[in-house]
Symmetry: C2
């Protein structure tokens, strides 16, 4: 009995910019327990690493499990990753550089650890358990502070040679556009991310054109979150509605270009802006894709809202860990 | 002896807008014989179909083969295709609509027939026999009258549900750009195809700014081919050089966006503009990709010129026919 109950659980980890989450799943991917923590504690790489280990330990305790009962850990991370070696090369939002996360976690928990890009994990989660179950070619797009993309093609994550790809936020949109975090100008993120919307809406609030937003969130781009934008629109800030709708149309134009390239069967939209404004925002994106992409690709294309919310990354990371354990990559 | 020599040959077919070509290959894909014909004879679908059959028959005769010695036919076609059913849904340049090519050829030659998009065939040809041999993720880009793209990912053509995809010519580039053949505005084809360059250079020639081009090719966009553009530049038409260089930079920007999505290991460039101006044109495209795409994707990216020229499509189509015969798609 004891030996058959061993190695039966999966652990999914979501390493986010503001919070981290560890979730324990049984063999059928039912949630057994989870724990969250804030990501940053001002102690740099070592601090983050320590909190990751603590969060996993606490999730295991909450599930009344010993780490020897873990079959594998899947960890979804942002930033530039070396997936095969399991190293976070550079994750500026987390202050991590050259952190051998896989090695550290393997040492601490004694089971295989698989690293995956967080947006890829979210997309794979939606493919496996959510809105895009079993879809042949599934494009995930997650507009938030930045704009991430992921692709599951014929059951497998599409990826670069040693890392992730599908950087839809860095599709070129405007020849003389605004400065992007990547150092170039006019990327999609400069016109359609939550940060781009916050900057434009913050200026409108400063000019007195968005009184509700000014009252709700002020003019600091850091504080103008998706929820505040949604509330300001509901309260009657038409200029905020126009800014959000315009950025949604731009997102649709970029997704339309990707549809012309990859001919996905479904686009699943998730992230903060989508969750806060599933009506207005998603309608605009959908209409813009249909207008931009070519008819043979759009006639059977579904554009839907993600189903798993905050669980997408942990579920996808755990499912990928299970997949990679069964079919190791070379 | 007779039975072992049966079913040993492959036939690749390239159905182009101006000419068609059938090439017979032995089991090791050495060329045994080939025949070309003009595509159009003014007799519509039936006329084109008849000439396809004739061209195949003549290539077989030239190879001293009976059609019973054919293992399979692979046919590369432009336009909208239903690959599984083997139907040309719509190929405006060829005047073909709803032509069940696979069924007709299977009937006439009694062997399996596989239909494939022509640009996909060219990309697969370069992957199998040419500049991109064995590359994990190979993006083929063929700027000509339009701009076609193809992707071979982990040994397989990337494709849509029932047809081809990778329509790089219809990536959105300019919010208020010129009218595209697809009905939208500002697609890559409107700024970087041979037709777009011909239109701009033709206007410059009309204004007296490109005297060599005027003498070589006149002002008719139909007559301003890649070779004429190259000759005019060589003869000293600086404005033509500027137009071509600018369009090459735009192509590089679009390919840069695709690199940010797909992280290919190699981009292989082919088609009329590349063949006519492998120096100037390719340098500009390469520099523009490196500037536009993100560093982790460009540092090991190779941007190279296609090697197979006019043989790419027939070779790729034949190799795909062999591949699909071995591993039938569901």
């Amino acid at each position: 009995m004891k030996s058959s109950s061993k190695n039966r659980y999966w652990l999914g980890f979501d390493l986010g910019g503001t919070k981290m989450m560890a979730t324990v799943f049984d063999r059928d991917f039912n949630i057994v327990a989870y724990r969250r923590k804030k990501t940053k504690d001002g102690k740099g790489s070592r601090g983050v690493l320590g909190r990751i280990v603590e969060t996993v330990e606490e999730a295991l305790q909450a599930a009344h499990l010993d780490h020897r009962q873990l079959s594998a850990i899947g960890i979804g991370c942002p930033g530039w990753l070396d997936l095969d070696r399991g190293v976070v090369l550079n994750a500026p939002n987390l202050g991590l550089r050259n952190v051998p996360l896989k090695k550290e976690l393997t040492k601490d928990f004694g089971c295989p650890v698989f690293m995956v890009n967080d947006v890829d994990a979210g997309t794979y989660g939606e493919y496996h358990f959510g809105a895009g179950k079993g879809v042949r070619c599934l494009l995930g797009v997650f507009p938030g502070t930045g704009i991430g993309g992921g692709l599951v093609y014929e059951g497998k994550l599409f990826r670069g040679r040693t890392g992730s790809c599908m950087e839809i936020g860095h599709i070129h949109m405007q020849p003389k556009g605004r400065l992007c975090g990547c150092g170039r100008r006019g990327c999609l993120e400069t016109v359609a991310s939550r940060l781009a919307i916050a900057a434009e809406a913050g200026a409108a609030a400063y000019r007195g054109e968005a009184p509700h937003l000014l009252e709700l969130a002020g003019t600091d781009v850091a504080g103008i979150r998706s929820g505040a934008l949604a509330s300001a629109i509901k309260a009657g800030d038409h200029v905020v509605e126009e800014i959000v709708a315009h950025s949604a149309r731009d997102l649709g134009i970029a997704i339309g270009s990707v549809v012309n390239l990859l001919a996905p069967d479904m686009v699943v939209l998730g992230g903060g802006l989508v969750e806060a404004m599933p009506g207005l925002y998603v309608q605009q994106v959908r209409a813009s894709i249909k207008k931009q992409a070519m008819r043979p690709y759009t006639k059977s294309l579904k554009v839907v809202v993600a189903k798993l919310g905050d669980d997408a990354v942990v579920m996808g990371a755990a499912a990928l860990a299970a997949e990679y354990k069964r079919n190791p990559r070379d």
